[in-house]
């Protein structure tokens, strides 16, 4: 992410909300009720979850899928699509 955070407060707001960096500030994970957890021992690294995540909140780190919990909204598509049932939706810890 190269965009700098410019939504830090009202004082330095840009004139137009067409701007950069707002998603650094707006962590949409706050909308999540249930949380996907990958059992990495059952994961075949097929990356189907990475392909299907509608929020692109799954990254590939060291050849494995890793969920970015700052932006995962908990829709459960990754768990539903995982062929090895390696992703479980679990209760969100608030």
């Amino acid at each position: 992410m190269t965009g700098k955070i410019i939504f830090g407060g009202a004082g330095d707001l840009p004139i137009s909300p067409f701007t950069k960096g707002s998603m650094v500030f707006n962590k949409t994970c706050a909308w999540r009720n249930i949380k996907p957890v990958i059992d990495i021992n059952s994961c075949s690294k097929c990356m189907i979850c990475w392909k299907f995540c509608p929020e692109t909140a799954i990254d590939i780190i060291d050849g494995r899928p890793a969920i970015d919990y700052d932006y995962c909204k908990g829709c459960g598509i990754c768990a539903a699509e995982c062929p090895g049932k390696a992703i479980k939706m679990t209760a969100e810890e608030k």
Partner: protein, 353 residues
């Protein structure tokens, strides 16, 4: 050079002189002639603008928003149902702070189908964050478009230039078309840096949550209020170059008047004739025109009405269940102020009557 032309062609020529770069429009009576003329100018190469044919007014405004986001000077025109169809995008243009300029030829809303003068189309867009001007003549249409680009590009809010269907749109009047060089001095080319730039990408329509949404709305309100000063300054600069005077309001024989007729657009011209007739009979009558509806010139109206006995607001529009819309606004401005006249309103002239 003075030429005989309709209000619609005055709009087309102003757009050409303003050096507009992108035009996107969809035809609707009584606006069609504006964009017909512009498409001829583009086809003949006398206006170097990108003319985008779109399938609706909604798309016309969307195209203007996109082009304006890249820093282009843009134009569209519409009327009545077409303006209503743009409604969602009107909010987008103002809240994105884009200086889009559009003419709207005031035409009645259907049903019953009626193509004649009526202000309910643009007044229904009151709260979309657009500055709104109501013009009384073809010359004012021409001049207002040039000034609107200058004002919008400073204030960073869009402007809607309104004028009466047929009374202004299709009636030929002498219009003084200035030298192109003088216009360029008044309104130079590109206004500022781009919002959207491929070399410095940013998001179009970013999420603005509870913590800052109010602040963005506050900035728009603040800019609308500041716009009154920008409008006054721009009118003064315009007068110094072109020798024609404009302001937020216009007064006719107001200094010694006891009673005031408040009107907008061409109805002000009729009101001025009525003022002369009433004065012949011994009444001390004056007329006040509200030229800018947004920002609403409350201060100028209060100043003009101060010490008068009676004021009558003529409204070619109606807010069903309430009253004429300009009357409501005048009453709101005068509310709680001392030395105000008794203000009443009448709704008339609907559908070009």
């Amino acid at each position: 050079m003075r030429q005989l032309m309709t209000g619609n062609y005055a709009a087309s020529y102003a757009v050409k002189y303003a050096g507009v770069q992108v035009i996107a429009a969809y035809p609707i009576t009584p606006q069609t002639q504006i964009v017909e003329k512009l498409s001829e100018m583009c086809a003949a190469g006398e206006l170097k603008a990108r003319y985008i044919n779109v399938e609706s007014e909604h798309s016309a405004m969307a195209a203007c928003i996109g082009a304006s986001s890249t820093g282009a000077r843009v134009f569209t025109a519409t009327s009545s149902q077409g303006l209503a169809y743009m409604h969602e995008l009107l909010h987008w243009a103002s809240r994105a702070r884009l200086p889009v300029v559009m003419t709207n030829v005031n035409r009645a809303m259907a049903p019953g189908w009626n193509v004649w003068a009526d202000q309910n189309d643009s007044l229904s867009q009151r709260d979309t964050g657009w500055m709104q001007i109501y013009c009384k003549s073809a010359q004012e249409v021409f001049d207002s478009i040039l000034m609107a680009y200058k004002i919008s590009e400073k204030v960073l809010l869009p402007t809607m230039i309104n004028y009466d269907a047929f009374f202004t749109s299709h009636t030929e009047e002498p219009v003084d078309i200035p030298d192109a060089e003088k216009v360029r001095d008044f309104l130079p080319g590109l206004r500022r840096g781009r919002i959207m730039d491929v070399d410095d990408p940013c998001a179009f329509g970013t999420l603005v949550a509870q913590d800052t949404y109010t602040e963005f709305q506050y900035k728009i309100q603040e800019s609308m209020q500041d716009a009154k000063k920008v409008i006054t300054e721009t009118c003064a600069e315009f007068k110094s170059i072109f020798n024609r005077e404009y302001a937020l309001t216009e007064e006719y024989k107001m200094s010694d008047a006891d009673e005031v007729i408040i009107a907008t657009s061409t109805m002000f011209e009729t009101a001025s004739v009525a003022v002369d007739e009433l004065r012949k009979k011994g009444s001390k009558t004056g007329a006040l025109r509200i030229r800018y509806f947004r920002p609403f010139p409350s201060e100028d109206i209060i100043r003009a009405l101060s010490g008068k006995k009676r004021a009558l607001v003529l409204d070619r529009n109606i807010s069903f269940g309430a009253q004429g819309i300009f009357c409501q606004e005048v009453l709101a401005a005068a509310g709680g102020k001392g030395n105000m006249p008794a203000i009443s309103g009448v709704v008339l002239g609907l559908g070009g009557r």
